[in-house]
Structure formats: structure tokens, C-alpha cells
Symmetry: C2
Subunit: 260 residues, 2 copies
């Protein structure tokens, strides 16, 4: 039977998942999604994800694809799956993709946001959805540090040590730090990310914001590529996979963060 390629945009609350990637005996996004799809199609299904988010990391616009011989109309996968999936995992959209589409390899860029919520002795409602921080943050110094990272660089200093990759070079196309009410939002778009790269960049920017580092250090960190010299890994609950970019006109909307 002819295999169709189906692409879906997926949202999840990372709090209850051990990350995206399937792991034996652990609740993962890929695992739960695969199980629901296999129940629905009565086939063996392999779910391919655009980005492997860590435990606790959220997604508004994760993209996955899978091949199926099922005759279910492409757009019906979203509502059918949502009827079976737990409420912390939703399929926002499903559609037919070209046969060569691969959620990970076809991606031209990805956008992540990192949220900081500034509160004193509070944060019960936001504890799983932002880094809670009480104190001053110099936003313009953070933006200055971010500007050094724009463009093509080796991001070895921001890659989890022990990761095996062919190249540490990535191209950051956008890197902004913005403030709204009690929120601080770091938005970063690149052609790809190394393991822990966003959380390590966010952690370093936060140290700049607190005045523990100067913004100019960013240039040296990028040049020297020493993980031990860069900032601490920011905790997962502030991180959101917001959007994946693919070539050509396509109908995958970008999704706004609920909060800012």
C-alpha cells in the first residue's frame, strides 16, 4: 500500500514527560504519541520529531512526521488523536506532507523561547513554566551579550560536555531579550542547536543580567570554546520549543507563547 507522509504540529506541557525521545518504561512525548498513532492506524508507526526536548521542556510548535498506509484524511489525525491523548499532549494540526519531508532533516531553523518570571516569595502558578527569579536583571547588557552570538560561530562552549557532534558550528539568525511586566523573554532562532545550547546560552545571559559577567565575555567564550568557562545550564521549565521553519510556503503557523 502507498505510504503517505503526515506532518503534525504538537504542543505539550513538558512537566509530566521525561523529554521527547522514547525511553523504555518512561513517559515520553514520542512514546505516548507513537502508542496513540499505532492504536489509531493499527500499524507500526515511527514518529520522527524535529527537536528532542529534555524532560521539563515545553513545546508549542514541535513538528513530527510519520508514514502510514491508513486512509484517514490527513487533517482528521489531529482531532482523532486528541480524543485519545492525555490533556498535556495535543496535536494542533495535521496535514499531508511531501514524500521527502523529514521533520528533523528538512528543518531550516528552529525557534526557542526561554522565560524568566520575576517574583518574590511567589510563583506557585508559574513554577513549572518559567525560571523564577527575584532580583535585578540588566536587560540591555543581556541583549548586548546576545548580539555577540548572532551569526555563524562554533558554540562548543555552550554544548553539553561529552556530546559527540560532527560540527559545533551553528548560525544564530535572531537572538533577542525582551521584557513585559514581570516577564523576561529570551528568543533565539538558529539553523540548529547543540545539546543544551539554548539553556547554556540562557544561563550565560542571566549571569550577564545579574552583573556576574560582562557582556563582552561572550566574544571570548565563543572563541575559546571552553564549556567550563560559560554559564550554568538554565533549568528546563523555562524553555519552550516555539516554531520550526521549513523550506517553501507551508501552512504550519507559528504559535504564540500563551504568556507574553
Amino acid at each position: 500500500m502507498a505510504q503517505r507522509n503526515i506532518r503534525m504540529v504538537v504542543e505539550y506541557d513538558g512537566s509530566g514527560f521525561h523529554g521527547f525521545q522514547v525511553q523504555p518504561r518512561l513517559r515520553t512525548v514520542q512514546g505516548v504519541l507513537t502508542e496513540a498513532l499505532q492504536k489509531l492506524t493499527r500499524e507500526e508507526v515511527r514518529v520522527i520529531g524535529a527537536g528532542r526536548t529534555d524532560a521539563g521542556v515545553h513545546a508549542l510548535g514541535q513538528v513530527v512526521n510519520f508514514f502510514t498506509a491508513s486512509t484517514i484524511p490527513a487533517e482528521r489525525f489531529a482531532p482523532a488523536l486528541n480524543g485519545m491523548l492525555p490533556p498535556d499532549l495535543r496535536v494542533r494540526k495535521s496535514e499531508e506532507a511531501e514524500p521527502g519531508f523529514h521533520a528533523r532533516y528538512s528543518a531550516l531553523g528552529k525557534t526557542y523561547c526561554y522565560l524568566v518570571y520575576r517574583c518574590r516569595q511567589g510563583g506557585a502558578l508559574m513554577r513549572n513554566y518559567a525560571l523564577l527569579y527575584d532580583g535585578e536583571l540588566d536587560v540591555s547588557a543581556m541583549q548586548e551579550a546576545a548580539n555577540y552570538a548572532l551569526g555563524r560561530h562554533s558554540f562548543k562552549a555552550f554544548c553539553a560536555s561529552g556530546s559527540e557532534v560532527r560540527s559545533y558550528v551553528r548560525n544564530i539568525k535572531e537572538f533577542t531579550v525582551s521584557e513585559e511586566r514581570r516577564w523576561l523573554k529570551i528568543t533565539v532562532t538558529a539553523d540548529g542547536f547543540l545539546y543544551h545550547m539554548v539553556r547554556n546560552l540562557a544561563g550565560t545571559l542571566l549571569e550577564v543580567g545579574k552583573g556576574q559577567r560582562r557582556a563582552e565575555e561572550m566574544a571570548r567564550l565563543l572563541q575559546e570554546g571552553e564549556r567550563s568557562q560559560a554559564g550554568a545550564t538554565a533549568p528546563p521549565q523555562g524553555l519552550y520549543l516555539v516554531k520550526i521553519e521549513y523550506p517553501g510556503a507551508h501552512s504550519l503557523d507559528s504559535w504564540q507563547l500563551p504568556v507574553v
Copy 2:
């Protein structure tokens, strides 16, 4: 020993609590808070709350008070308790109150917000923090309906049937419906609320917004006082106790909703 009266502003994520009020063998805000206070002061402590929120209802500015002979400085209760409390319950502030202060009886007014998040096939991240609704809502009709309820009325049609109260008359001082991005926010301030009153008002406004009722019906509902004629009770997860007002100048800030 002289008993001091301590007032605290409390924030909680209602998702994990069976409401505010203590109940045997159930996790409640009052129960968890009382237990922590008793451990801290080594006294029998009675926690008085301004509003009894239902299971699933959140609070940013719940106010409680209690009497204690402890010598702990008033402002130290907040950090000391936060070191013992679970992360879904935080004390935002603690301070000395006048001896006659009573969190419930001294209150002049309370403000609640009800949040609706408009999304199609999504909402994994907001499922516990808003009513998810996919469809058109006529915000100006909702505001028109809300305007009928402003001022002193009997709110019998919006009180959970079976509630025993001396009077159904309450005074609504502010009642607004606003929109921002994907959010719809209903804000209502009154001198007091009947059981389920905000959720019943919100449910009725939503029916007006969907075009299932005309805004003018609000006048008739208020006049006739028939619970069965008013709208359905909106689900608890959209509701936030935001602020309690007390006489005189006091230092209890109001707390902004994290989202809008």
C-alpha cells in the same frame, strides 16, 4: 503570652488542592498551611482565609490571618514557611495586623478573574489555568451583559442552589470583559460573593458571548432570581482569586495575573 495577629498574602495553584477549606484526609490549602504553621510555631494555629476557593481554583492574592504567641518577626513567616511548603503553595508576604483584623470579616471587597484561552486543538500548556474555548465570542455583548449586573442586586440566580445565606444581595463595583491576544479575561470586584457566583456569572456571560443568550436577559435573571434560568457554572480552572481589599491604607499589594 500576648497573641499577635499575623496577616499573609498567599498564592496557590489550585490544580493540586481540594479547595481552600480544610477537609479530613484531603489535600487543601488551609490544611497544608495550618500544618506548616504548627510545625513552625509549635502551637495550635487556626488559619482564617478571606475566601473559600473551590477545588481547581487558583489564588494570587488570597489573604489569611492567624494568632500566635511566637516571637518570629512578622515578615519572617513568609520565607520560613516557603522553605517548608510545597511549591504549589507560596506565601508572598507576611506582616503584623491590628488585633481586630479578620481576613474574612474585615474584607471590603474581593476581585476575581476568569480566564478563557482561545485555541483550536491545542491548550496542553493552559489546560489547568484557563477555560479552553475554540470559537467566536462577542466581547461587547458580554460587556453589555456584565453592565446589567453592576451595583446592588440580589444574585440568587447566580448562587449555587441549596446554599443557605442570610441575603443574596451583593454589590458589584467593577465587572469588565477584556481581550488580549488569545485571552479573554473577565474581572469582577464585589463586596462579597455567593457560592459559585463568579463561575455562574462567567458561565452566563460566555453563553451571551456565544450568541446563545441576549445581553438584556441579564436584567431578567437578576430580577427573577431563578438559578435554573441562568447559565451553566464555568469550570474552576479558569478562576483566580486576585485581590482582597481592606479598610485603610495597607501594604498588601494587588498581584497581577501572570498571563494577561
